[in-house]
């Protein structure tokens, strides 16, 4: 199994897009080395602007470039690419439905040692509520590449959420189709719906459950908005119970998105596995995932608990 930084793939994909299309412009806010936009900067210095530690200006400048026919990728850490610049995203980018693709790295608890001030755990919730915003949370670096290409090919604002740490490549994935989730594994007792780093954990959990005689489906929802409503309803029709896993607050993220659909269309028992309304802390990425129960074992425990209800 190969292991990659999704952000490395992001930087390399930007170069491919930059070669293909002169309209591609990239912005960063003093984190180009970490986000890997530096790769694009080295190749296309005339179409890269480092705007310093000034994120509000970066996002509104992106809006101005996009309003002048550019396709703009703007990157920094998720913590500084979302809540900090929410007004610029809402009023200047989304209200005008502009081609600003915010690709944030270092999202979630797996930022690790830097601690809670740098662990964006509410970014999906915040951005999901804004009209026109489209959100993708890739599960590995291959999917990150597809997400970046989808953002380039489809009009309007995007938020792509990448992590800091290396991620394992998920085997036997289906082809990435923007707005379409898919089942990585079929099952009939319970469905495990996941995004981002939790997809790999969900697959591991399904294997453990299988050894215990429980048949668990695993669903990858990489596009959080617009979400694949049809797939979620059809899974709920097949599995009586569901666990939704995300490296994000339970409030407002994938769990909420799924529940908003099922409450109306096909009410079943849906249990969340995420961060429960608290701030993170320092630690290695793995120790943090363990601490918050965002692991295969954590998923297994959740599934067993709700199946015994």
């Amino acid at each position: 199994m190969s292991k990659d930084y999704a952000r490395d793939v992001y930087g390399r994909t930007l170069i491919e897009l930059g070669k293909k299309d002169k309209r591609v412009v990239v912005l960063d806010a003093d984190l180009s080395g970490s986000t890997r936009t530096s790769l694009f900067a080295a190749e296309f210095p005339d179409r890269f602007f480092n705007l310093g530690i000034a994120e509000q200006n970066m996002i509104a400048t992106a809006a101005g470039l996009a309003a002048s026919s550019k396709i703009v990728f703007a990157s920094t850490f998720a913590m500084f690419a979302t809540a900090r610049v929410l007004d610029q995203i809402r009023n200047s980018v989304c209200y005008n439905n502009l081609n600003v693709k915010i690709v944030a790295t270092h999202a979630g608890i797996t930022v690790g040692e830097d601690g809670a001030s740098h662990q964006a755990l509410e970014d999906i919730a915040i951005l999901r509520a804004i009209p026109n915003m489209q959100i993708i949370v890739p599960s590995d670096s291959e999917e990150a590449k597809s997400a970046v290409i989808a953002a380039y090919e489809n009009d309007g604002p995007f938020y792509i959420r990448l992590g800091r740490a290396k991620v394992n490549t998920i085997e036997d994935k289906k082809d990435f189709i923007f707005k379409k989730g898919y089942a990585l594994k079929d099952g009939k007792d319970i469905a495990i719906v996941a995004c981002g780093v939790m997809v790999e954990q969900a697959l591991l959990a399904a294997d453990i459950l299988q050894s215990k005689g429980i048949s668990a489906a695993v669903i990858n929802i990489h596009t959080i908005k617009p979400i694949d409503k049809e797939l979620i309803v059809s899974i709920a029709g097949k599995c009586p119970k569901m666990v939704v896993c995300e490296e994000h607050q339970v409030m407002g993220g994938l769990y909420s998105s799924v529940c908003e659909i099922l409450a109306n269309e096909c009410p079943i028992f849906v249990e969340p596995l995420g961060i429960n309304d608290e701030f993170g802390r320092s630690g290695t990425p793995d120790s943090l995932l363990e601490f918050y129960g965002l692991t295969a074992d954590g998923i297994v425990n959740k599934c067993e608990k709700i199946l015994s209800k």
Binding site: A54, Q56, N57, G64
Partner: protein, 271 residues
């Protein structure tokens, strides 16, 4: 030159007249800051900008962004006078089926990007200016801000970046009317000395009387000749200018004229 100035002065009066009429009709909106910007907007739309309502998709033309979005009645008036949309749209301002929203939106012909939340505009104009530099286009970008708006941190982030990237195709104008909702700008949160601030951020600064068409045209013309750095025009204005009972009166920041006030104002503007 005199006939050009007279023509623009005539347009300023038309803009002011339309501002009063549209705000009185809908009963809400911001007359003070619209009237203070009227001469600046008249100079831009009737002389300075290379623009055309008939050629809106042409990306080589100059761009104007109204960062102080609440002053949009002045912009709406100018756009209608230039033929971007019919005058009757002005009478549906701020109404449920109207084209013209309470603050500018990109659905309105002649407007590229919305505004309303203060402080974004200079960054948006910077993005447009950088795009012009990348494509080696000759268009210029103009951005009208308020002096109260100078309190927004985003303005100074944009100011820093515009000077850093030598965007000499960018011209900011500050409508220095000295008042904001809560009172005098000097008392709410002092922004002066503005010239020193912009100079320190690496901009070329021009000061002028924001109600003198001749001075404004001179300022825009000198701005065009500055190379390697952006230019800001600090235009000294009077809030409510042109309607005696509104001039310098705080209340008219965000209170529309009553029918009686409208009649008085229109009589004054006819003179």
């Amino acid at each position: 030159m005199d006939s050009k100035i007279d023509f623009i002065k005539e347009k300023s009066i038309q803009i002011r007249t339309l501002i009063i009429k549209m705000l009185a009709k809908c009963g809400s909106g911001h007359p003070g800051g619209s009237l203070s910007s009227a001469d600046i907007i008249a100079c831009l739309y009737f002389e300075v900008l290379n623009h055309s309502a008939k050629d809106q998709t042409n990306t080589d033309r100059d761009k104007f962004h109204l960062s102080k979005g609440h002053g949009c009645p002045a912009l709406y008036a100018a756009l209608s006078l230039c033929g971007y949309f019919k005058e009757e749209e002005l009478w549906k301002l701020r109404t449920i089926n109207g084209l013209l929203q309470g603050h500018p939106t990109s659905r309105i012909p002649g407007i590229n990007v919305s505004s309303g939340s203060l402080g974004h505009g200079l960054s948006i104009a910077l993005g447009m200016a950088l795009s012009g530099k990348i494509d080696k286009k000759d268009y210029r970008v103009y951005c009208l801000m308020g002096d109260g708006e100078m309190q927004e941190g985003n303005i100074w982030e944009a100011a820093m970046a515009a000077a850093h990237y030598h965007t000499d195709n960018l011209c900011g104008i500050v409508d220095c009317n000295g008042l904001q909702i809560d009172g005098k700008t000097d008392e709410v949160m002092r922004v002066e000395p503005l010239a020193d601030k912009w100079l320190a951020f690496g901009w070329h600064v021009i000061k002028c009387d924001g109600h003198s068409v001749a001075e404004l045209l001179d300022a825009f013309s000198s701005a065009r000749n500055i190379k390697d750095k952006p230019v800001v025009i600090l235009a000294r204005t009077v809030k409510g200018k042109g309607v005696s009972f509104m001039e310098g009166v705080l209340k008219y920041h965000g209170v529309a004229p009553t029918p009686e006030e409208e009649a008085t104002a229109l009589k004054e503007l006819e003179k």
